[in-house]
């Protein structure tokens, strides 16, 4: 773990709409160190979700280099990227994105289907992950039998069950009430603080962002020069490219 967890160099993303290029991200360069908790903020359309998607390997940049644990993911094929995501990235979505036909335990077990673990081992891992998020008693419940906060905790259990290098969270508290949002942020805090998980979170919520070690603002596809240090010290996040 000598290098940064994530390294972006001159990353650009341009969409084409009606034959016209629409630049979303231009010349983005920075590093995220192992164990960091970074919040990406910015107005709608600023490109923060696009940046998160690029870091998570579910979208491809039109220029630049993205290295995660020294792997240039921009050069991986779709199939290689899928394998890479399964091993290195845990996803937390705004609307939880759980499979409604699967129980909490089965939802958490889902990413483990792509590993070599046997059924018993998968069950044990999933059970443990649910215990960590405080849902040990809800293993047999379907998503529609759980509150929003509980569903998001199941999603967090699913994100951590494979012990990924990186956890990406897209507006993880965006669909929750204040109390549930607080619980989810506490949980992310613990994942970062106790387990040393590297977390990149997109949020509109200033209170949520303040839980991170650092906040990066995006404005019209460009990173603002300002890096806001919050209540806790920034451990290792720093400007890239030199």
């Amino acid at each position: 773990m000598s290098g940064p967890a994530v390294s972006l160099r001159a990353v650009a993303k341009t969409y084409w709409r009606g034959g016209q290029p629409v630049p979303v991200l231009t010349d983005i360069s920075f590093d995220i160190q192992h164990g960091d908790f970074l919040a990406l903020m910015g107005p709608s359309g600023s490109g923060k979700s696009t940046l998160l998607n690029l870091i998570a390997g579910i979208d491809q940049p039109t220029g630049g280099e993205i290295r995660v644990d020294d792997v240039d993911i921009a050069r991986l094929s779709e199939s290689e990227l899928a394998d890479w995501r399964a091993r290195h990235v845990g996803f937390i979505f705004q609307f939880y994105n759980l499979m409604p036909v699967l129980t909490a335990l089965e939802n958490v077990e889902l990413p483990l289907m792509l590993t070599s673990l046997n059924r018993r081992q998968r069950r044990e891992h999933a059970q443990l992950a649910l215990e960590m998020v405080g849902l040990a008693e809800r293993v047999g419940h379907y998503p529609n039998e759980l509150s929003g906060g509980q569903q998001q905790r199941v999603a967090i259990a699913r994100a951590i069950v494979t012990d990924p290098t990186l956890i990406v969270a897209d507006e993880p508290t965006g669909d929750l009430d204040r109390k549930s949002a607080g619980e989810i942020l506490d949980l992310l805090d613990r994942l970062n603080g106790d387990l040393g998980k590297t977390i990149v979170m997109v949020t509109h919520d200033q209170r949520a962002a303040e839980r991170a070690h650092a906040i990066r603002h995006l404005e019209k596809g460009e990173l603002s020069a300002l890096e806001v240090a919050v209540s806790r010290p920034v451990t290792s996040e720093r400007e890239g490219g030199g």
Partner: protein, 387 residues
Amino acid sequence: MVFFLLKMAFKNAVRHRLRAMLTLSGIVVAILAFGLLRTVVGAWYAGADAASDKRLITRSSISLVFSLPIAYGERIRQVPGVSSVSWANWFGGVYIEEKNFFPQFAVDPVTYLPLYPEFVLDEASQKAFIRDRRGAMVGRKLAQRFGWKVGDVVTLRGTIFPGSWSFVVRGIYKGRNQSTDENQFLFHWDYLNEKIRTVAPRYADRTGVFVVGIQDGSAAAEISQQVDALFKNSLAETLTETEKAFQLGFVAMTEVIVQAIEIVSFVVILIIMAVMANTMAMSARERTAEYATLKALGFQPMSVGSLIFAESMVLGLAGGAMGIVLTYPAVRAIGGALDNIFPIFNVADKTVWMQLGASLVIGLSAACVPSIRAMRVRIVDGLRAIA
């Protein structure tokens, strides 16, 4: 992982219960209708399918309406390769009323019965039938239909051969297999000929067809030619063909109807394929975000596509299985009602295989487009579908 995906596919298939039930009902009805229509087509060809390759039929080359001299029988028997000769004459009588139709043939029992081993009759009944010139041998289904028992007197009103004709049931035969016609009414040609001789002597000693038994089925064409050559340039030239070709000649008269039924049977499947494809497209579209999530978690596009295929196959095969199971009682019920039109109305093995094949095709075809779409959908676009 395969088991897990199958479990998920099954749960997805029954996720919207009403939709699943309606789709399933549609498939059941379509497969059932397909099976029934194929059974009707099969019934049309049943006579030809049941024909023996060791039997030839010799008839007038002009038309079946014209009879042949009974004396031809002896000459046909002389043809090399012919093992036996018998004859049969269509009677066309009416039992009580016109709607009680069933085939009636005046035959020579002694030579006719050995040529038709598929008509199974115990020896005592056979002897009783042969002994009694007014005796009749009837099929099991026919006897059941009219409640006839051995010893009953059955009176037919002649249409081709006018008058009232009384027969005594001397035997009730069973079919050796499912394809044997158990609706025939056989009686003595001698009895018919005797009466004709008294009322219209110039029509006596004639028969509609000769049934020619041959030793080797592969020599049928050659023997047919030799038989017909015997009577070339005579007043009653003959046309000899295999029993199958003879039966198919009747089917050919109504071939357009058969073809129409065949087309309808496939149209039914095409319609349900379209309905099922729509259902699967709707389901897959609603779950775009779920498929994108699976891909984000690291599932390969092929796994996501397989999930949709499995779901479609669950519906297709479940509906198909139910349709196949229901075909049997439906065919029994319809077959009972159409006994006089289709004496052989059974679900053929081929029909079941075709139903199974149709179920597979329904499932596979319905999944094609949504699977490809789900496999191709960009994760970021798919995830956006949720918001």
